[in-house]
């Protein structure tokens, strides 16, 4: 059972419903040490929900989730921080774990925002704040990193650099990463395993496998799949506006 010891979090047919509406259901996936698992899918397909199930934020879930680590770093997609709190970047870095100055400075330098250390969190731009969020998540050297659109609002060159950084972190810390991203190029180049969601798992596998998949194509269009493949399929089901799945 050597590989099982590498599992950090495992979802078994997990689902979550709110007000009698399923946000996502039947998701099975696992994140292992040193591996990057990426969730892709259109808006409202349940990517963030799946991440929150994996993190244990949602508790009343269908199916089960097994988490084997408590050293978690999380970059949420949306974060509402109350600016009535006088909070500097430095205070925010030690929010969930006490860190020494070296770890804080190192993480802030890696994401390129060390110069903002004493700034008030409310005075940062969207991209700057995103870099601080990522720095905070990696500074505690987690075993599991959950990154929900970690580079949103970051400028183009910064985006590439941050994705390289994420890949590097996964190698250096040997931590598992659950990544949610819209950038298919990045997804395809840096990911070990892709899970394509649309309220349920449409398809999953290596980036190559997924790119060839007919459902992936149905969701993202021919061009997206031509990035990696010219393989063609016909899909066997469609999604109605109510979220039902109909066989063709």
């Amino acid at each position: 059972m050597g590989s099982d010891q590498n599992i950090l979090v495992k979802l078994n047919k997990a689902g979550f419903s709110l007000n009698n509406k399923w946000l996502v259901r039947g998701v099975s996936l696992q994140v292992e040490k040193g591996k990057i698992v990426t969730l892709i899918g259109p808006n409202g397909s349940g990517k963030s929900t799946t991440a929150k199930i994996a993190l244990g934020i949602y508790k009343k879930i269908d199916g089960s989730v097994e988490k084997y680590t408590n050293k978690v770093g999380y970059v949420p997609q949306k974060i509402s921080i109350d600016w009535t709190l006088p909070l500097r970047v430095n205070d925010f870095m030690v929010l969930t774990e006490s860190l020494d100055k070296e770890s804080i400075d190192e993480a802030l330098s890696l994401t390129g925002v060390i110069h903002l250390k004493d700034k008030n969190l409310g005075d940062l731009s969207g991209g700057e704040f995103q870099r601080v969020l990522l720095a905070r998540a990696i500074s505690k050297k987690p075993e599991l990193l959950v990154l929900d659109e970690p580079v949103q609002g970051v400028d183009f060159t910064g985006e590439i650099a941050l994705y390289e950084l994420i890949k590097k972190i996964s190698d250096e810390l040997n931590c598992g990463i659950l990544l949610i991203s819209h950038d298919l190029h990045t997804v395809m180049s840096a990911t070990d395993h892709v899970v394509c969601l649309n309220g349920h798992v449409c398809c999953s596998g290596s980036p190559m496998d997924v790119a060839k998949n007919n459902e992936y194509k149905a969701l993202f269009g021919e061009q997206a799949s031509q990035i990696l493949s010219r393989y063609e399929h016909r899909h066997d089901h469609v999604h109605t506006s109510e979220g039902e799945i109909k066989k063709n």
Binding site: K52, L55, T84, L87, L95
Partner: protein, 267 residues
């Protein structure tokens, strides 16, 4: 020295201010001022219970306020009413029931004004012990839950995701709120306790750049309010609670001058 009522009041007030400083910051950050009010209103019921059953006042206020807090949590889960409506419901109904019960206890002479607005003459050596020992316990527990409570105040999901158990910290904080109201009711009075929590913290917000600084300034503001308030209470023969709160308002207004300056600097 403890024979002097004024010295006793001063020692009691200083003890209360040291505890309301940090708790008040969380009340401001977590937007709990109306929640504090509700617990304070329900304290009247606790006081009447203490008189009729010859209990210790602080203890019975603590029990009743905790019960009201638990009731609120249950009502929030089981009804579709908004939080502020539930708070209003509990605040005013427990105040009303408390006053009705006082009506039945006509054989006991109540100092209602003292209950509502505080009475420094009423502070006994026993009360000092309750304030200082109870206060030390509150601060100790607050220190223990500081990290999860503060992290979830900033962002609940981050705290939950990174394994800090924010729900437990919130429940414990609710109990601490009931406890501070219980130990400070004689000093400030039940209508003004929330002011003692909020105003020094609000003053501190205006002049601080980090959460730690805000806690320290909030304590200092509370201490100055107590000292200023009690001396003027003695001088002008006014009730202790309103005098302390008026003093804290004075400090708050002073802190506004600082804000104006820093806004000018920014522009």
């Amino acid at each position: 020295m403890l024979d002097d009522f004024f010295i006793r009041a001063l020692i009691a007030g200083i003890g209360v201010a040291i505890v309301t400083g940090p708790l008040g910051c969380f009340v401001v950050w977590r937007r709990l001022s109306y929640f504090g009010d509700t617990l304070a209103h329900s304290a009247l019921l606790g006081v009447t219970l203490a008189y009729s059953m010859e209990f210790n006042i602080a203890f019975s206020v603590f029990i009743i306020s905790s019960l009201i807090a638990l009731t609120l949590i249950q009502l929030q889960k089981r009804t579709n009413l908004p939080g502020d409506a539930l708070l209003g419901l509990l605040a005013h109904s427990s105040l009303a029931v408390g006053l009705v019960v006082i009506g039945f206890l006509s054989f006991i002479r109540f100092d209602i004004m003292g209950l509502l607005f505080g009475d420094i003459l009423a502070v006994t050596v026993n009360d000092l012990l309750i304030i200082w020992i109870g206060g030390a316990l509150i601060l100790l527990v607050l220190k223990l839950i500081w990290k999860p409570l503060f992290a979830s105040t900033v962002n609940y999901e981050l705290a939950e995701a990174e394994g800090l158990n924010p729900d437990r910290a919130k429940a414990i904080f609710t109990i601490l709120m009931a406890a501070i109201i219980a130990i400070s009711i004689k000093m400030v009075g039940l209508l003004l306790i929330t002011g003692m929590l909020i105003i020094p913290a609000a003053m501190a917000r205006n002049i601080s750049s980090s959460p730690q600084k805000m806690v320290i300034y909030s304590i200092i503001g509370g201490l100055l309010s107590v000292i200023l308030g009690l001396f003027s209470s003695l001088e002008f023969n006014t009730a202790s609670g309103p005098s302390i709160i008026a003093a804290s308002l004075f400090l708050f207004i002073l802190s506004l001058l600082n804000i104006k300056q820093s806004i000018k600097l920014k522009n």
